[in-house]
Amino acid sequence: MTEIDVSEEQQGVLQKRSKSKTEISRKRRELKRNVEGWLFSCWPFVGFMLFSGIPFVLSIFLSFTELHSFDILEWEFVGFDNYKWVLFGEQTEHGMRYEFWHSLKQTLYYCLSIPLNLVLSLGIAVLLTRHVKGTKFFRTVLFIPHVCSSVGVSMMWKFIFDPTYGVINSLIRSAGGQTIDFFGSPDWFMPIIILTSTWSAGAGSLLFQAALENVNQTLIEAAELDGGTPTKIFFKITLPSISPTLFYVLTMDIIGGLQCMGQMQIITNGTRNPYNEQGYSESLSAVYLIYWMGFSDPFNYGLGLSSAAAWVLTLIILAFTRLNFWLSKYWVHDDV
């Protein structure tokens, strides 16, 4: 009896022990799984935190300081002065100057290229999804601009529009016209930049091509049987079907377009030419101004102004993105 009792007791203890053992090992395994998961997947997050997160916080701090060199110890707290300069301009001998707002105006001017290229890209995508012979060849050629560097391409356009030896001016002169200094004239600078942006419209059409291939063909056939004209079918069926793609491309284009700078910086050779009659630079987009204030001329402007302008621009970009999302309720159809 006693022996059995003991063994029962022992069994109970053993059972308890093994139960807690499995409990512990289960918890341990779970912990191991969680640790392993984080160890595998945290690296992009760590990279983001170090090289974007820290500068992100640093730029908030900078926007409230005056700093004219890349020596962080020379900072001086100035409160909202930088934001005041950005938002309400600066009093000069010749009246108020609103450099940031002018640069934003130029940026928005440049953004006219977005709807233009959207329509062109869509048009090219329609042509490339008609499956005529040679479509593959045309697709290859039209995508070339995407793999070309902005420096090479800008050099190309600069040469083509050059006032003395450029092709365009050569043609204008042979037609009896006057030489136009396209990139040196405040009236021509932005229009030509926008015009040259259409060169890469074929590359932008790639996503539309994929979307067009996925449009439900039975819907279109049914509409054709009902006597719908091609135009009507395009606007009533095709366009709503690809509206999610349109929305995605538009969103990315707006975020990218509002941050344009490289092309202007290359074509002007790192200067702010040309200037208009009010003495504002026609080539200075908002991001170029941010770059200019922090990198090209930190002595007269400084990192503080640069960061404050960057924050105002960021809020404007977010506002545009929000607006775009809000408007999408009315024209983006996920259900087609």
Binding site: F48, F143, C148, G152, S170, L171, G202, A210
Partner: protein, 293 residues
Amino acid sequence: MSKKKMTTPQNGVEGQKKQTVKAKIVIYALLIFYSLYVLVPFWIIFASGLKNISEAAEPVFTWWPKEGVTWLAYKRVFEDGSLFLGFKNTLSFSLPPLFIGMFSSAMAAYGFSKMQWRGRDSLFQFLLLTMMLPGCVTMTASRLLYDTIGWIGTPYPLMIPGMFGGISAVFFLRQYMKGIPNELIEAAKIDGMGQFGILTTIIIPLSAPALFTQLILGFLGAYNNYMGPLLYLIDEDMYTLQIALRTLVSVYRYDVPRQMAASFVAMMPMLIIYFFAQKYILKGISMSSGLKG
């Protein structure tokens, strides 16, 4: 009208056929026009590189060098060596972070697609959100950060951040790895293989096409990167190809054929890669967008 159509269906069919021929002509005309728009500028810079200096600077543009074809401009570009040094710098600054970064991305993508752990989905959501952060806001401050930690004057700002893996690459690879059957991973686990072993011996070999796509897209980005080197590089002997090209163009302002030859030569390597790896580039871009391609 409609009656006529109804009574002569054959005519209707023929009419449609004619229209498609007409439509085809319009399609070809437009496609050829746009292709010429893309290609002619290349011809202009290529041909200008074949001219001698005085002819290239003439006010009347010629589509073919009238004073004879000369390869001297191209020779000057290659003898000068700055473009070649730039190319070498571009390769040595971009390839190590590309491969290391690709490994980090693959590792993260494996974690996000095949491992179960707490916080996985929220971390992924957060990473996707960071892609919306406008780069301009950190531009000035990151230069200050790199200056403070002594990285200015070194290529580290162009190299180290990429080694942690790219978010769009993670997104792309995750999508791809989701298609790898779980049974393979379970079987390996039963054989006593650890997660790291599974990653290196099963997942990475199986994801080779996706990794290759991302490598090419990454190289395309690094090769054409202009803003990064512009913001962080100072010493001329560290200039990447794009910065070297820009410098060359402003130094030899009066040597037009040389500028054009240099622009043409600098664009060539990527174009060659594009023609060979076109399939991967096109597919990669239409899939990276997060839309079904």
